[in-house]
């Protein structure tokens, strides 16, 4: 199974150093947040209790980190073994994406010392969507590390653990597909409760399904995005052929998403609102325009797909999908009574820091651990 090899090479590259600096700044603001309170760093208020720490770090961040989920689904459940080389890099990114989402939750919740209440059976509220999301994400982070663990056992030649892992890995992979299916859709259910506070362009009972779909397409788009960048940066050879095949699946899922999304807005009579020229109407149009660009490239140009076009499609989908999630959690959310929210510098820096840490850890890991497969013999490491 393992033809993957560590890439090796210099660790302290320019990218790595920049990432470390940004992470350092974020650590400063993190310390400030814990010493002086959330208000000393963030612009959160009683009208907007959730800001970018939830909307980006958790809601968008975990969708970006769905690469591991969709690749596991594709390779192990739908049995498309040919995509195997893409699994590990995707898992690695997912692992960091989810772990840092988990970390950011601890920055965001106000009473972190009481978080253990989530694990006291008599305190659990099974009716709460938040409870389900918290449980699923917490468990999934653990599952991701275990799913990725064979990489460690290979690197350090831990034969005993490797054999044990081999025996249970199928159960882990199964869980690794179930858990994101559950909590990614629940992230949509979560905002149903916001009721009138969420603009009707986003408040719809299809939210759970739409969130699940965006998780899948953004997961695939992230795989394409990462693979394209990684193959450029590390000179891994051209993966366009494999990625083009994935893009075919993406175009189907995205097509379904767009049909459901637009039909739902039509049915509820909100299309007029979308084209009214209002700020929210325009946000809706931008969001869907980006996704449609991605869809058009993947569907109608599929026979002439160059790496550049594929990359553009992936970015359009990532940005459009993120905007959909941002709109649902912050931009389309208005509690009334004149509350306003825009993330402060400190708040943004913490988010940038988390992204920087993710990139730094990723680049470090691919050099030390067997993540990438040299599937293209022309560029196999010498």
């Amino acid at each position: 199974m393992s033809e993957a090899r560590p890439l090796g090479g210099r660790v302290f590259t320019l990218t790595f150093s920049i990432c470390l600096i940004i992470s350092g700044i974020a650590l400063y603001f993190t310390a400030k947040r814990f010493i002086f309170g959330i208000g000393s760093v963030a612009n959160l208020n009683d009208g907007y209790p959730w800001g970018i720490w939830i909307a980006y770090d958790v809601v968008v961040g975990t969708a970006f980190a769905c690469g591991g989920y969709v690749m596991a689904l594709l390779v192990y459940v739908i049995n498309k073994g040919e995509y195997h080389p893409l699994v590990r890099p995707a898992l690695l990114a997912s692992m960091f994406g989810y772990t840092l989402a988990g970390v950011s939750v601890f920055l965001d919740i106000g009473r972190y010392f009481h978080a253990y209440n989530l694990y006291l059976p008599w305190q659990m509220n099974f009716h709460s969507v938040m409870f389900e999301v918290a449980m699923c994400i917490g468990t999934y982070i653990l599952v991701l590390w275990l799913e990725f663990a064979p990489t460690f056992t290979e690197k350090w030649k831990l034969e005993k653990y490797r054999k044990f892992l081999d025996k249970i890995i199928f159960a882990l992979i199964g869980l690794g597909v179930l858990l994101p299916t559950m909590h990614q859709s629940s992230l949509g259910t979560m905002m149903l409760m916001a009721g009138f506070k969420l603009d009707p362009l986003w408040h719809s009972s299809t939210l759970p399904l739409l969130f699940l779909f965006t998780a899948v397409i953004m997961g695939f788009a992230m795989v394409v995005f990462e693979a394209t960048i990684a193959s450029r940066v590390y000179g891994l050879g051209n993966e366009t052929e494999m990625l083009a095949k994935i893009s075919r699946i993406m175009s189907w899922v995205l097509g379904f998403f767009l049909v459901i999304r637009l039909q739902n807005v039509f049915m509820r009579g909100e299309m007029g609102h979308a084209f009214s020229g209002s700020f929210l109407g325009n946000m809706f149009l931008i969001e869907n325009f980006l996704l449609i660009i991605g869809f058009v490239i993947l569907t109608f140009l599929r026979n002439n797909l160059t790496p550049r076009l594929l990359f553009i499609a992936a970015i359009a989908i990532l940005v459009g999908g993120s905007l959909f999630r941002f709109n649902t959690y912050i931009i389309g959310y208005d509690p009334g009574t004149g509350w306003k929210y825009f993330p402060s510098v400190g708040e943004q820096m913490i988010t940038y820091g988390l992204i920087a840490m993710e990139i730094a850890a990723y680049t470090l890991f691919v050099k030390y651990f067997p993540v990438f497969s040299a599937h293209d013999p022309a560029v196999s490491t010498k």
Binding site: G39, F126, M130, E132
Partner: protein, 333 residues
């Protein structure tokens, strides 16, 4: 392989159909019923003179610090509900503001506080049961020892009631708990016991609802008795009946609330939104229930996933072993 893929797609289609069906389930979920001994407050805007005695009493009874808003740190002057203020009297004015309870050139007061919903969003939202609704009194209370500070209750509350002091290092959620500590001692909520006019009237919700009907049937301009402090108190005041708007706010909004408002000006003037009868809770938890009831569906899906992964993984491992053998035999490269 082809068949397997089709099976998978079938399963996927099935679960999607399930999601579509949930909408009916959501509607079928009945709104929670009013607890038999439910306690509440009837606030009559026409009786309120805006003396703010209830606000002072509330602060005292709940040990809440003052809110300074005018730059001079002398008077407690909250402009709205805040992490320090559980109860606030707000004023609507129009034009000259001369006439009380008139929509044009008039003014009117409104009391804002937790309405103690019959089907409270915050209680359903809270992942750790820090917010609970009492089975008998229906009072929605908060326990900071369980709260993790996720603030989903703030997102979920349709009336924007729960507050959270973001400037504190380790804050807690703050909202009216109907002075349940005083009720336990046989007393009345502070705001009702000090209200001089009976604008804030405490009582059983069932009695309060009867009272709203009595008031709505009053002939405007005639004299009537209005109880003070509590619906069953002996003290009453005589007032001329105002011309109420034909709507009691909170009687049906989102499944109903235990704190209700009566007024002579439209409730939209106070910024109170017009809500349907069905709560947002029943919509979202309907979907949640249908998918996760007893964890049956997730477990079935998990079993299917594990089975398929195991099968595919075995095939793959066998293949890779064969491949290695081939490589060795061919000795190529």
């Amino acid at each position: 392989m082809k068949i397997k893929r089709r099976d998978f797609l079938k399963g996927a289609a099935g679960s999607m159909a399930l999601l579509a069906l949930d909408r009916q389930d959501a509607q079928a979920r009945t709104v929670q019923a009013l607890p038999p001994e439910a306690l509440g407050i009837l606030y009559d805007s026409t009786l309120c003179v805006g003396c703010n005695a209830c606000m002072t009493a509330c602060k005292k009874a709940n040990n809440m610090p003052p809110d300074f808003t005018d730059g001079q740190d002398i008077w407690d002057q909250p402009i709205d509900l805040s992490p320090n203020t559980l109860n606030v009297i707000k004023k609507f004015t129009n034009g000259t503001g001369e006439t009380k309870d008139a929509e044009i050139n008039g003014h009117a007061f409104i009391k804002r506080q937790c309405l103690h919903c019959i089907d409270p969003s915050c209680v359903t939202a809270c992942p750790v049961s820090a917010l609970t609704k009492d089975k008998n009194t229906g009072i929605v209370s908060y326990n900071k020892n369980n709260c993790i500070g996720c603030r989903y209750c703030q997102v979920a509350c349709p009336y924007n009631i729960p507050k959270f002091d973001f400037n504190r290092v380790y804050p807690e959620i703050v909202k009216c708990q109907l002075c349940d500590h005083l009720i336990a001692e046989g007393k009345y909520p502070a705001c009702c016991s000090v209200c001089p006019t009976g604008a804030s009237l405490f009582g059983r919700v069932s009695d309060l609802i009867v009272e709203t009907r009595r008031r709505q049937q009053m002939v405007p301009g005639e004299m009537y008795d209005f109880p003070v402090t509590s619906i069953d108190s002996d003290t009453t005041h005589k007032y001329t009946a105002p011309e109420y708007v034909p709507h009691v706010y909170g009687k049906e909004e989102l499944g109903g609330t235990q704190v209700m408002y009566m007024s002579a000006v439209g409730f939209d003037k106070f910024g109170l939104p017009a809500y349907p009868k069905e709560s947002f809770v029943s919509m979202s938890s309907g979907i949640q229930y249908a998918i996760y009831k007893g964890m049956v569906y997730p477990l079935v899906v998990l079993a299917g996933l594990v089975f398929m992964v195991k099968k595919n993984k075995q095939q793959e491992d066998e293949k890779s072993i064969e491949k290695k053998h081939d490589k060795k035999e061919a000795c190529h490269e």
